[in-house]
Structure formats: C-alpha cells, structure tokens
Symmetry: C2
Subunit: 351 residues, 2 copies
DNA sequence: TTGTAGGCGTTATCAT
DNA sequence: ATGATAACGCCTACAA
C-alpha cells in the first residue's frame, strides 16, 4: 500500500484538524489560502494519496465508469473503447472495461458485477433482450451505444443513413440486385439496418435487396456469407460490418471471383483494416471514437444533470468510396445518348 | 445505487447478527449450514450486494486490477487486453484499462492514478525509463509485459527466438541482405530484437542486416520505413511488428515494387490482419492472449505467494510462413549439382 | 456457533 | 475559517 499515510498524518504535520485537510483538498475555497498551502505542502511531503474506498464509502461515488463491449479484438469496439477511455480520464474517471465475448449470459453477469462499483455504465452494442436490459439498468446510471430503449440515454449512429448511402452508391453504379449479409440477430443495429433497407428501397426503383441471413460479425462470418451472396446472383454485397466484408472479399478471392469486376462489396464502419486489403474496401464510415466520447459526455450529464436532457440523436456517417465497388458487368442498359458517346467501354459493351 | 440494502438488512430478515451475515458470505464454514442457507436466501431476496468501498476500507483489498497499454487500437494490445480481461474476471477481479497513447507522461500519470485503487497492476510494453518504472512500481504489486526489470515480475515473449526464426527463414530462402525496420526507441522489445539480430548473425554466415531506424509501430510507420528499406538494396525487410509490415506492403505496392518477387516482407506478432492482405504476411506468431492470461496468473501469485516465485520465462513463438516471402531474385548462386538438375527455374537463371 | 464492540479513512454536520 | 464528532458499510477480534 502506497497510502499508509492518512489525512490525520497530514493534519498533524500541518498543525490543523483532519476536517481542514479534507476541505483543503476538495472545496479549496473554504479554507484560508495560507493554511491551504501549508496543507498541500504537507500532503506533498508525505506523499499522501486519498483512500478511494473510504471516500467512496461516505460520498457514495467512486469516480469510476464501467464499459461492457462484445469483443475487444473487434477493431470497432477497440476504437470505441479508446474514445471512452480518453474522455473519461480527462474528466477524472477511471474505466473498467469488460469483454462479454458476444455472450449474453456473461454480458449480464458483467453488468451486475460492475454496476455496484461504478458511478455510471456504458453498454456498447448489448446483445441482451430489452427486458433484461431494462431490468439490469434499473438503478444504475447507464448510457447505451448502438441501442435504443425508452428512458435510457443512448448514443447511436444513423443506421438508416448508412444503408441509404451504401445502397444509393451501388444503385448509382447500376446495381439492381444486392445481397445483405446481416449481423447477429440480437444486434439492435442490424435490426435498424434491415429496417433502413426497406426505407431506402422506396427511393430506389427497380432495386432488389436479398437478405441472406445472420452471421457472426467477424471475418469468419463474412467467409460463410460469401457463398450465399454469390448463390443469389446479386451483383453486389452489403455487409453488416467491415470485418464481415473483409471475410467476404477473402472468400470471393479464394473462389476466383474478382472484386469488383464480378461482384462489388461494401462494408460498414471504416475500421483501419479496410484500407489494408486490395481492392480497398468501400465502406460507410462511422465516427468510432466519437461514439465513445459522446457516451461519456452523456454519462456525465446524467450524473450532473445541469442541462435538460437532450433528445437522443444519431451521429452522422459518411460513405467512403474505394475500389471494392464498380459498375456491375450486368449494368443496366445505358441510355441511347450515352451509347452514342465516344467512350470505348461503352462500345465494347456491344460485343 | 442498487445497493441501498446492507448486511444489517439481511441480518434482520434472517434473524441473525450482522457479523454472522458477513461470515456466511465469506468464511462460509464458520457458520451452521441451516443459518447459512437462511442468510443466503435473505440476501438473495433483498438483492443484497456487498459494498466494495466498505469492504475495501477494512480489508485493504479492492479485487480490482489495472492494465496500462500504449494503444488499444493496436490489435496486439487489444488481444493482450482481452486475455487479461478474461482471466482476471474468472478469478473475480475487475480490470481498469488505461490507454497511454504511446505517451510516456500520460503513462506515468495513469499508473499513479490507478495504483491507489487496485490490488495489482499490469504494465504492457511500458515506454518509460527504467528509473521511472522502478520508482513507480515501488509499493504496488506489478507485472510487466514485454519488459524486464530486476525484482519485478514480468512476462515476455522470446524476442531472440523471434529474430532467429525470421532471419533463419529468409536466410534459408537465399536472402543475404535484410533491412530491419525498428520500433520505438523506448521499446524494450525492440532493444531485445536488435540484440537478437547480432546473436543470430553468428549462425548465419554471409548475412547482412541493415537497421534502417526507429518508427512508430503502426501502419504509417511502416509506410515511412518502406522507402528506406528499398534504398538499402536489401532483398527483404523484417519489421518490428505486423502493423508496420502491413504499412511496408502497402507502400511497396504503391511504388510498384512486387512482393515477394522484388522484396520479401516479414512481420512479427501474427495479428488477425496479417491474413487479410495479399500477399498474406509471413510473420512470427506471439501468443497474444496467453501473454495476458500469464500476466494475471503472475499477479495473483504475487498477491498470494503460495508458491516460490518462478524465474521469468519467455513465452514461445512460432514462424508462420505465408506468401509475402520467397526466394529473392538475386538468389545466392546454386551449387553446380543443383544447376545440373532438371528444374526449369534453375535453367532460367542462366539467362 | 453466534453476538458485541470497535475501527478502517474519509466527508458532512454542527458548533465555535 | 476551523475543529469536534458522527457516520458511511463492513470485517475481525473477542466474548459468550
């Protein structure tokens, strides 16, 4: 224990009472400047560190936050964690990080374990049911990421917009049949995106989106999805996230199906790895770290409700076009004006 | 606060005293089985959760560990964190995770902040100096990862063996001039690897290794290193880690230098992304998660020193050959016997 | 086997 | 502006 030294030791050295020491270290303006300085010097000299347990016992606050994520090795969650981490620290909070391994039971267990020793909890992409979630957040200041629930603060990205931009891009290129490789059935975001697909379809006449199932949101899940996507005859695939998209790219390559010539692929998130592959992955960028910092902000607002609670607002996203998407071979017929142009590719299409 | 319910509430409901409740929940064999069950039922019914602050105040233990890493977005540290996380949880410890952003000052600050509220600290690849490290670990149970310091527990991978295997592989392929793109100057592992290079050279006659500098251990650092590596005229590059190796691959590709035909590339760690690129990255695999679990084990042994402290031992590594390495174009001359063989490639060498 | 009493280090209340 | 005192919830002697 570094802190065998207590307020009483500091008090003795500074020739004041323990209460004055306590005040000097927190409500600094309630103590005379000279006294205060004397106390600070004494504390410094003795290497005094407040005992968090004792402080927490009486104040009821811990100055700690908890964060639960499905998988730290998923770069999406790593970035969110980094965002949470940085912001919380700057505000004087330390952060417990817990990894549920995409497992609902351990997710619940982790929340229970952490809830009792934090001032606030951030649940990132929780997989548990609404009932379990409502039950478990009862009595704990909580912020959800990628999930909405009545009466609970939440930070989300604009899933509808994600889908709209991704499908709009493919549509503009001429794709009319797109496979959607979904994420975990228990993912709220996935539900939002499937919903967004139907919204988007209204603006994209002639477009067909084929949902090919729910997959583990990692590389291996994408590999599984690839063959199904091919089987649908679609000219493009939209994946639930970049990791799956990378898995799809890999599997297509293994099968000798060229991207983007034979099949276009679009991911979601824009994790770092998206630019490592070739062709580089077209994706819809989500503000990963910002999601984390926003969650901490919301948590702090929830603990010190100075301002009226804001309506939850989805963070903006942005399409990043790279080389994994192109005009499909089975492109929609060009208009006669375009066919008349000098473009060689167009002429080649006649052969 | 979920825990407005205290031992006294449970005691009242179970018609016993507070101390008996306390005993029933910890030293379970000091209380009559029937009483114990009654207490457990009461606790369950009231939803009792022990107050960690109160418990910590009297026991002096927190049941929390702290982990400090340089960068959570680096998949290497993400994996280590996952390992620490999982093992600690299984042992009943929650884990504070802190990200220093590769910055020494914030690293020191984080350690100070966490030290007072944990039973043990794991410092992963700390960048601070030996003096700072010795100073800061004073009085706190600490385990180092990828760093050795007298009198402090540590978990390391076998850096000498990493280098030996990597260089041995390239040597066997026929490379005689290899560039080494180093990591941060403050990285202990990097020092070990540079040292390992000289050890390895003794067994590899005719091999030349050119150290081209220290780089940020991420993708961008690799991109910078690539041009220098090319300028040396070496036929292969060994990078400090996979992220840098991926950056090198990317930059070489951008310059039209083909891998592995014109240049072989070897990474270290075997992070997931190593298989995403093409050509896939040859690398030396380190047992990432295991490093984390081993650190937790060491920490627990340090707290409950039942067994004599073991000598620190480096964890084993393994070369993973993929397609980013091959025989160099400037291969060493074949022996006459080999030249006489029917191998077409050999004959081509005559042109 | 169980109850009683005291104190862990800090902050809040009340008094001065 | 400062000091005395009590209390936070729990654990651990010690007593019964």
């Amino acid at each position: 224990m570094a802190g065998a030294v207590t307020v009483r030791d500091v008090a003795r050295l500074a020739s004041v009472s323990a209460s004055t020491v306590s005040r000097a270290l927190s409500a600094s303006d309630l103590v005379a400047p000279v006294t205060r300085q004397r106390i600070l010097d004494a504390a410094q000299q003795l290497g005094y560190t407040p005992n968090n347990s004792a402080r927490g016992l009486i104040t009821g606050r811990t100055n700690n936050f908890g964060l639960v994520v499905p998988d730290l090795e998923n770069p999406y969650f790593a970035s969110v964690t980094k965002g949470v981490q940085g912001r919380a620290l700057r505000e004087g909070y330390a952060v417990f990080v817990a990894d549920s391994d995409e497992d609902i039971r351990s997710e619940i267990e982790l929340v229970r374990k952490l809830a009792s020793q934090v001032d606030g909890l951030i649940l990132c992409s929780p997989r548990m049911s609404d009932e379990e979630l409502a039950d478990i957040t009862e009595g704990t200041t909580t912020v959800l990421i990628n999930r909405r629930l009545p009466d609970v603060e939440s930070i989300t990205v604009d899933d509808t917009e994600i889908v709209r931009q991704a499908l709009g891009h493919l549509y503009a290129l001429g794709h009319r049949s797109v496979a959607y490789a979904g994420g975990p059935a228990t993912s709220w975001s996935d539900g939002q995106r499937r919903h967004g697909i139907h919204t988007a379809l209204a603006d994209l006449p002639g477009l067909e989106v084929i949902e090919i199932g729910s997959f583990t949101p990692v590389f291996g899940g994408g590999q599984s999805a690839a063959d199904l996507a091919v089987a649908t005859g679609a000219s493009a695939v939209l994946a639930y996230n970049d990791l799956m998209a990378l898995g799809i790219l890999s599997r297509l390559q293994a099968r000798g199906i060229q991207v983007p010539r034979d099949m276009s692929v679009v991911g979601i998130d824009d994790v770092n790895a998206a630019t490592l592959v070739s062709p580089a992955l077209t994706t819809v960028r989500a503000p990963l770290r910002k999601v984390g910092t926003a969650a901490v902000n919301a948590l702090i607002d929830g603990i010190h409700p100075e301002n009226p609670r804001l309506e939850p607002e989805a963070l903006p996203v942005q399409l990043i076009v790279r080389s994994s998407t192109s005009v499909p071979r089975s492109a929609v017929p060009l208009t006669s004006r375009e066919e008349a142009g000098p473009n060689e590719r167009s002429s080649n299409a006649h052969h």
